[in-house]
Assembly symmetry: C2
Homo-oligomer: 335 residues x 2
């Protein structure tokens, strides 16, 4: 098992990525190829790089976090994210992990590896903390203005992923809508509903925004526009609430004393919000394995994303997706 990691991506710079990669290598025995500027990686990596599980694939360029994805990937032929996917294309790596510009990761993945047969559009599946375990929200920004069949394809892929990599035997799949009854929602969702109903998915019907955290559904399917708004909203809200809690506690002496006593507990609480357990979001619909990490990923998140990529490969998820995308039901919905 070899994972190629874009070492130049992430808000915290290559150091954190290299640390996470070294951690994954030593904890799981996974071989990692760090893709990026060798000089910088060696400076950051130090003794980590002595491990025989880790090697460096040098390239000159990198896509910055704020660059336009399509333009940057097209122009920078030597960009680390392109090279990381090139290694997957040529078989030198089994999967790609990146904490860089997520749009560029998506574009590079699609351009380099192509689409998975039966998947018309790429989708990013975010793994969120549900009440009783992880909940997969797909798509959080891969494709906007989806047709109903695209949503079905997202559901099929995310279900295969959740069953294999998240240990959920028969994932319950819901359609994100505004009201649980059949016929509720916008045109896209109303047309997608019967496609899901006729599929072999364990379809539980429409779910609402609040159900993401309620624990009654394992995979939630939506258009990439809606999912991206939802994801960024939940991130913004988590930090807003942490801030509000802090300010409420600081208002009185008793509050400040309570906060000191419960310091450990508040740290646990904050950690549970960050949810680094899975480290990244799989990029589904490409003909290969790619994990998109948050720009602000810690070394622990990177390590876990590498483990997730390895589990994706080991479980043959790509083959399962391909076979399920090419069943009669799904093909009929797509036609």
């Amino acid at each position: 098992m070899r994972i190629s990691v874009d070492a130049m991506g992430g808000d915290h710079g290559p150091g954190v990525v290299v640390d996470g990669a070294a951690w994954a290598a030593s904890e799981f025995g996974i071989q990692v190829t760090l893709v990026g500027n060798r000089r910088i990686i060696e400076e950051m990596g130090g003794s980590h790089l002595a491990s025989e599980l880790i090697d460096v694939h040098h390239c000159e360029e990198a896509v910055d976090m704020d660059e336009s994805p399509l333009k940057a990937v097209r122009q920078k032929k030597e960009a680390s994210i392109r090279k990381a996917f090139d290694l997957a294309r040529t078989g030198e790596a089994d999967a790609v992990v990146s904490a860089g510009n997520s749009g560029a990761t998506l574009v590079a993945g699609v351009l380099t590896l192509g689409r998975l047969k039966g998947a018309e559009r790429p989708g990013i599946a975010s793994i969120l903390p549900g009440r009783h375990g992880p909940v997969v929200l797909i798509d959080v920004g891969g494709s906007v203005d989806c047709r109903p069949a695209h949503l079905l394809q997202f559901g099929v892929m995310a279900q295969a992923f959740a069953a294999s990599c998240l240990d959920i035997p028969s994932p319950r799949v819901g359609l994100l809508s505004i009201g649980e009854e059949v016929g509720k929602g916008n045109e896209q969702v109303r047309h997608a509903y019967p496609l899901f109903e006729r599929s072999t998915l364990n379809f539980v019907g429409n779910v609402e925004g609040r159900d993401i955290f309620a624990g009654d559904v394992d995979v939630i399917v939506c258009d990439g526009f809606v999912g991206n708004v939802a994801l960024k909203l939940s991130e913004g809200m988590a930090s807003a609430m942490t801030r509000m809690l802090k300010s409420a506690l600081n208002k009185t002496l008793l509050g400040r004393m309570g906060a000191i006593l419960a310091e450990r507990n508040f740290k646990d609480f904050k950690k549970s919000l960050e949810y680094e357990e899975y480290g990244g979001a799989p990029l589904l619909g490409i003909n290969g394995v790619g994990i998109v990490c948050h720009g602000g990923s810690s070394a622990r998140a990177i390590k876990n994303a590498i483990a997730l990529a390895a589990s994706y490969v080991e479980n043959g998820v790509l083959e399962k997706m391909a076979s399920q995308l090419n069943t009669v039901e799904v093909k009929k919905a797509t036609a």
Copy 2:
């Protein structure tokens, strides 16, 4: 000033609504007509009903919280929500407040009062707790599959509302999208962008899900599908986070002690999440004033929603909206 209040709506039953109405009457001197079953209202209202500011308009029927809005409003001609809007239509009331089935409130408002000239679709404007004050999110479920011009109309109406009722002199208006740059988003938003740019609104461009709580924008415009998902997500997340915090604190003795010391502060924190200050969401785009309250509204929320309705009327917001909807720029975008 007389506000008609649907006394039969709300998860907590008529008692809470009657309490809130009585509170508004005594605190602000607003005249309130409670619309609903007289026997039940009198049972709940007790001594409140002695006030000369409060009267009861009897009707036999009510729309339940889980009924299909359109069907229920059409079939139940004597439903309290219809009667409440009838009083507004005939001039016996200046505005309507309801904590009942919000879909039915929307339908009854549109059917009874008609649309405001220049507003093609109704929108519900939710008032959320931003970092430095209220943020208006429109639409949170009034209209789905909006055309770009509908979004502009929402922006124009919400801007007039925020300026008049929320004391924001020149509200900054943003379009909810997935990326701040021009050209980011789905087709709807990409086409709406130039309409906003050419308008006289104080348009700040695209904003993202996280910006709802960041404090850099006062009015956020989106399709009712996206807004409703966002609203329900934020509600679900607030309760999930409160639950997670509680469980983190309960894990250790120090945590439990800290929680006891800071009990007052936690209550303040929880209260700041509920945000009852404005009590309800104005229903914009109808030819009259309607405030939709959360089904779970407390008496305090009902009281504040009645005050908001009164401020809406006193400030002549409806006339301001109508004149701004009928400017050359907006009409051109609509054509």
